[in-house]
């Protein structure tokens, strides 16, 4: 990478680092921009919000100029002009204009993101918005004669002839500073020094205005200078004085160009008052101090704390096996250690926890886009923005939420006409609410649309072979059919929900997070999807079992119950499969040791303990194990990151004894087994 020629003193690395900072800041500015505009849309009348919005765009433009991101600069400049007029109260805000500004914010976001990765946004996409903004700006400009509040005061000019003092190629300057010049830390000495850099000169001091010492006032100006300069470039000379032009009298004599009156620009008489408003209402509450921390450091700390937890487990285990004379004391200390470790773990996880607000905010833009594409009118209501969840989960929330909202608008909410026809408001509402419940985070996505069309769902399910024609599923069961693989009620593959992005994809991504998803619906009134996720992907509650000499962990969320197997209840099916009847329903019985490929000395019939597990699709199985070792919280180690994806295995963990235990992926195990089944398993028979 070569150095930027405009910043030759900065290394390519330095520029790259500042560029990274710039784009980080852009994200913050874009977020503040959207928040501010949304607040204005809600009717907030705080002027500080407008200032914040202006500054956000101004800042982005400033940084873009450094890196010559032309498309971004041009758009930001236009956007800034519009906002500048709003700020100057030359452009009044109304619903339509705010909508335009919101669209401009979206476009700006796209331009920033494209610039970040060196791509371009299709100009055709941005062009109509540019027109809209240009129109806004033009309307105001027409009212302005372009001169602002400038007033010209002509200064008398003495046209000394060519016989004036000094050589014909040089200049003569008369310079008399006003008191204000000194008050702004300008210094004639420095100005004279600058002049000298241009070339040789002769300086004569004019002390005529200097009073007697007793009458001398420290902040007045009494001195003037006459400078005979050898250089004839009047522009260069004027540049030297550019900072002080309004605070002095400057005559330049001997210019070869016709002299122009030096206009002394009187201060703008009445600029609209914009006193810095000390406002209490800041867009985002900022309680207490914050510091910026490198995410890598936090991740590292969480890893170390997780290992501390494991290590402490090992210690407790080893100590339990030791013969000790003072066991009670030791146990007490170990208990304290355990408590402390868990507290540290909680505190550290809290550092990385973020409010879901960031994800929810992205959804408001999504709603605007889908509105535009479908022609429907939808408002987004969010609740529980401040609910916090670990970073590992936040990042993976975006996709399922996006799909669910698209789905809600595309399929749930009716068109304006349809809604009015049934007595609803033309504008539909999509509500996303987050809350903590039972040690998990629960997110509800609800709409006030038409609800699930059960007739159609049932029909399509039969058509796709998901259920048999004579099956008689309950309303709830029908609702859950939409999660079946390949299920889509759209005949046409729409841009939004097409390409296989159906609820089955949503369910798999939620499952991959260790979560569950379900739906309830009232025909004509709307549907509510409920998403339940663990608070972090770093730790998990599991049931530890021993299988074929290995330890395995079954996620507690998948566990229904554990029980003793009665040989009498086991029925064979085909050459290698077995079925257990549990409360009247048949459930496949799987020998976990053989499924996992563990060599074992115990035969299947020797095992009597089983876990009844259920995956999120409602598929159930009974897993035969050697022994149930107990419930335990485990630290999740990604197998994918360390090795690769292994079917049937969700992740790994390290137990107290230092050995690696695999965490079961129940859906994966059921899938593995299904391949050996001749007929499809009983999937929809959720009890």
């Amino acid at each position: 990478m070569t150095r930027d020629s405009r910043y030759p003193t900065l290394s390519a690395d330095a520029m790259a680092s500042i560029r990274a900072v710039f784009f980080e800041e852009c994200e913050e500015n874009l977020s503040a921009l959207e928040t501010g505009l949304l607040a204005l849309q809600e009717g907030a009348e705080d002027w500080e919000i407008i200032n914040t919005v202006f500054r956000a765009v101004h800042s982005i433009k400033g940084g873009a100029s450094i890196f010559s991101l032309d498309a971004l600069i041009d758009f930001a400049h236009l956007f800034e002009s519009a906002l500048s007029q709003v700020r100057a109260r030359e452009l009044a805000l109304d619903g339509g204009i705010i909508k335009t500004l919101l669209k401009a914010a979206d476009a700006l976001t796209d331009l920033v993101r494209a610039a970040r990765v060196g791509q371009e946004v299709d100009p055709a996409v941005v062009a109509p918005l540019i027109d809209e903004l240009a129109n806004l700006v033009a309307v105001v400009a027409e009212d302005d004669d372009g001169f602002g509040d400038l007033a010209f005061t002509p200064v008398p000019v003495t046209l000394d002839s060519l016989e004036g003092p000094g050589s014909s190629t040089g200049l003569t300057l008369h310079f008399r500073p006003a008191a204000e010049l000194y008050a702004k830390a300008n210094d004639p000495v420095l100005l004279l020094q600058e002049l000298e850099r241009l070339g040789a000169m002769e300086v004569t001091l004019d002390r005529s205005a200097l009073p007697m010492l007793g009458d001398l006032q420290a902040d007045e100006s009494y001195l003037a200078w006459t400078i005979v300069h050898s250089v004839g470039d009047a522009d260069a000379v004027r540049e030297v004085f550019e900072f002080v032009q309004g605070d002095c009298q400057l005559e330049i004599i001997g210019e070869t160009k016709p002299l122009l009156p030096q206009a002394e620009i009187a201060p703008a008489a009445a600029t609209p008052v914009e006193a810095p408003v000390a406002s209490n209402s800041q867009a985002a509450a900022n309680p207490g101090q914050t510091i910026r921390v490198d995410l890598e450091r936090v991740d590292r700390m969480i890893d170390l704390v997780s290992e501390l937890v494991i290590n402490q487990s090992i210690l407790i285990q080893r100590m339990a096996a030791e013969p000790l004379s003072n066991r009670a004391e030791v146990n007490a200390v170990l208990e304290d250690l355990d408590k402390l470790t868990r507290e540290i773990q909680d505190s550290v996880m809290a550092i990385r926890a973020q409010p879901v607000k960031a994800v929810f905010q992205r959804m408001s833009r999504l709603v605007r886009e889908v509105e535009a594409m479908t022609g429907k009118s939808v408002q987004l209501v969010t609740e529980g923005d401040a609910t916090e969840v670990d970073r590992t989960v936040i990042e993976r929330l975006s996709d399922p939420l996006t799909h669910m909202i698209r789905n809600a608008i595309d399929h749930g909410i009716e068109s304006k006409e349809q809604r009015l026809a049934v007595g609803k408001l033309a504008q539909g509402t999509v509500r996303i609410a987050a809350s903590h419940r039972g040690g998990r985070i629960v997110i509800e996505v609800s709409d006030d649309g038409a609800g699930i069309n059960r007739e159609r769902v049932r029909a399509i399910a039969v058509e796709r072979g998901v259920i048999t024609a004579d099956a008689n599923p309950s309303s709830e069961e029908i609702d859950n059919l939409i999660f079946a693989a390949g299920f889509s009620t759209s005949e046409a593959v729409t841009d939004l929900s097409g390409r296989g992005v159906g609820m089955d994809v949503v369910r798999s991504s939620v499952q991959a997070l260790g979560g569950r998803i379900s739906v309830t619906s009232v025909e004509g009134r709307g549907s509510t999807f409920t998403l339940s996720l663990p608070l972090t992907l770093a730790v998990m509650d599991g049931m530890l079992v021993s299988v074929g000499g290995h330890s395995l962990v079954a996620p507690l969320t998948t566990l229904i119950e554990s029980f003793q197997v009665n040989a009498a209840d086991v029925r064979r099916l085909g050459p290698s499969s077995a079925i257990l009847t549990i409360r009247g329903a048949p459930v496949p019985l799987l020998d976990l040791a053989s499924v996992m490929g563990f060599a074992s000395d115990q035969t299947e019939s020797g095992r009597r303990v089983a876990l009844l597990v259920e995956d999120d699709a409602g598929g159930r199985a009974a897993l035969l194990v050697d022994e149930i070792l107990g419930q335990q919280q485990v630290v999740i180690k990604s197998l994918e990151a360390n090795y690769r994806n292994v079917p049937g295995v969700a992740a790994a963990t390290i137990l107290g004894d230092g050995r690696v235990a695999l965490i079961l992926d129940v859906s994966g195990i059921l899938a593995l087994q299904r391949r050996t089944f001749a007929t499809p398993g009983p999937q929809t028979q959720a009890a």
């Binding site: 405009r6 910043y7 030759p8 003193t9 900065l10 330095a14 680092s17 500042i18 900072v21 710039f22 980080e24 800041e25 200032n51 914040t52 202006f54 500054r55 101004h58 800042s59 433009k61 400033g62 940084g63 100029s65 450094i66 400049h77 800034e80 002009s81 602002g148 000194y182 008050a183 702004k184 830390a185 300008n186 210094d187 420095l190 100005l191 600058e194 902040d219 030297v240 550019e242 900072f243 309004g246 605070d247 620009i265 201060p267 703008a268 600029t271 006193a275 810095p276 000390a278």
Partner: protein
């Protein structure tokens, strides 16, 4: 070896602060940073700089307010203050001058011009 001169930079944009920091440090200055006018006044109280470079658009206390506050103290009479302005707001430059700014630098700044401007105001 003379002690390096200190410049106080006041700007709410981290990007700009970093750019100024690197350019100034490279040229041998010490730099103190502030993120808005209020912070600028605090930092000014901590350690007197040889010059100030400030942005105009900032939250809490903007450039104008900051400059006025600085000039309000007669002890700061000869403390040079340069404002960062963009091409499109040269009228703000005038207002800054009225508030007491010594001179200005146009954004995106040219490092040579930045250092020139500092020299011209004696820093």
């Amino acid at each position: 070896m003379s002690t390096p001169k200190t410049i106080l930079t006041v700007d709410d944009s981290r990007t700009m602060r970093d750019m100024l920091l690197m350019t100034l440090v490279d040229a041998g200055y010490d730099v103190v940073q502030a993120e808005d006018g209020e912070d600028g006044l605090v930092k000014l109280g901590d350690r007197r700089p040889d010059a100030i470079i400030t942005d105009i658009n900032m939250p809490k206390l903007d450039g104008f307010g900051f400059i006025e506050a600085v000039r309000a103290d007669p002890a700061n009479r000869s403390l040079p203050i340069l404002v960062l302005t963009t091409e499109s707001e040269m009228d703000r430059k005038e207002r800054a001058r009225m508030a007491g700014a010594t001179g200005w630098i146009v954004k995106p700044f040219n490092p040579t011009k930045l250092l020139d401007a500092l020299r011209r105001v004696g820093a």
